[in-house]
Symmetry: C2
Subunit: 288 residues, 2 copies
């Protein structure tokens, strides 16, 4: 990431930021008047470093998380004009991460900033997203340092049944039964992986990866899996729910605080632009 | 822990609580007027369940942690009269943990409550205490969900040098160079184990176990090890510091927020009373 700045689209250089946040005290990613959001925190920090931007630096994130949702490895991009870049003076692109961490609040942490490869769009070039949901049941150690990102549930979860139910959802489906609908958006998604296991302290971790998620999809699936884990539903019921493609009889959308974005997947550099064009046509109006 | 209540000392039954807390928003364990402390939170919850107690339930903790220090496995005891126990009605001792978790704030979590074995004293029967200190340096992943319990340090720490420095401190010594002195207290302690390693996300974890710690001892040792890790001191310098048995030239006492009490060790049940008597004679005036 320390190559000389050579990407120059319409006079702008696109940078990629890798970062994470504790979502507890944020009203999600997207800027909203008067509310503390992650996008607003970044815009404020970028403005302090590079000056005012009428186009808000074209800042765009890979996964626009809801209020209370966390991220360990989130990705965004932003664009700088040559004039803005010049404000770095003798500092380099690599120093931007350090500068951002000094200006951003402690619950946002930047791991890296670098020049993006050609054709890169943080949101539309992404080919998959991976999330984790953490559940503490009666078997789990009650770790007070993890309550901010772990949901407490009653009883003892049946992990095997939850795994079986999860595997019913794998593949390309219309996930309308698990999505909050949005006008003009498709709810067809490809669920690529879903695992349910007990980690450290016997905490139940659900990891779930898809090309993209529609609104509330992960938290809606987790709600259904909890019902299975507690014996209130069978894996067959989950399959039936998927097939009905509407939200009738669906399970509770669980609290955002147990959810963390783990990883954004991108294709090889020479496919970034093509993927961005494809995705933008498909899902412009969607929540990722 | 579900045996019938049969221990009855002077009309009182002694119970053991296993619990933990996120120390961020507490002014430490010990009750202080007007301040949010862990002891005060427990006394309030116990009073709601068992009624007023003039002797504050004889509540005593194994390790009285300072403001901002966390605990994953802390231990305390408290005593109930037969009248207080009767208030449980048809509920059992096992239900107390559940009741406490409903009444306590979320940043304190109880794992278990049970009748203590004969002669048990949470503080004085303990034979050792184990703490962990977490450090994030330039190599570490900046996990925003861990900033509340991890100290950021500059540069890249030399783990091998830190390990070597730590091993200079092993054994029975007068740790006066690493303790905030208290009148009437000895600073002789047995350091039983100290390890420095990189864990998940390359976070540096220092684990340290002693029979007991004098005031500020762990944070003072960690400050010295950071100096070694950053090349500002040598392992030989740490040995020299230990031998001088005063605080001249000692290193910074680091922030409490990186510190967590991991575990309290107790002897076999038939040695609990003897250990309690021995320790109480030795260290009544001490901080554990």
């Amino acid at each position: 990431m320390s190559e000389p700045v050579d990407l120059n689209v319409g006079g702008f250089t696109r940078l990629r930021i890798d970062f994470g946040y504790d979502g507890t005290d944020f009203f999600g990613w997207s800027k909203q008047p008067e509310l503390r959001t992650i996008q607003a925190a970044f815009l404020e920090a970028l403005t302090l470093i590079f000056g005012e931007s009428e186009i808000d630096f074209s800042l765009r994130v890979a996964g626009r998380t809801d209020a209370g949702v966390h991220a360990l490895n989130q990705v965004a991009h932003f664009d700088l004009s040559q004039t803005q870049l010049a404000r770095l003076g003798r500092e380099t692109i690599d120093d931007i991460a350090y500068k951002l961490n000094r200006l951003l609040p402690n619950d946002i942490r930047v791991s890296a900033v670098g020049v993006a490869p050609e054709g890169f769009d943080a949101r539309f070039s992404a080919i998959n997203r991976r999330y984790r949901y953490r559940l503490a049941d009666n078997l789990s150690f009650k770790n007070p340092l993890e309550t901010r990102f772990t949901l407490d549930v009653a009883g003892q979860l049946n992990i095997e049944a939850m795994s079986e139910a999860g595997s019913q959802l794998l593949g390309l489906h219309d996930f309308a039964s698990f999505c909050k609908p949005r006008e003009g958006s498709t709810t067809i998604r490809e669920l690529q992986e879903i695992t349910v296991s007990r980690g450290q302290g016997q905490v139940v971790e659900i990891e779930i990866q898809a090309d993209a998620f529609c609104h509330n999809m992960v938290r809606s699936i987790v709600g259904a899996l909890i019902a299975v884990g507690q014996g209130r539903a069978t894996p067959a019921k989950i399959k039936q729910l998927l097939e009905q493609t509407n939200r009738e009889g669906s399970y509770k959308v669980v609290s955002p605080h147990g959810l963390s974005l783990l990883k954004i997947g991108y294709p090889a550099d020479d496919q970034l632009a093509a993927q961005a064009e494809k995705a933008q046509n498909l899902r412009t109006l969607d929540e990722n």
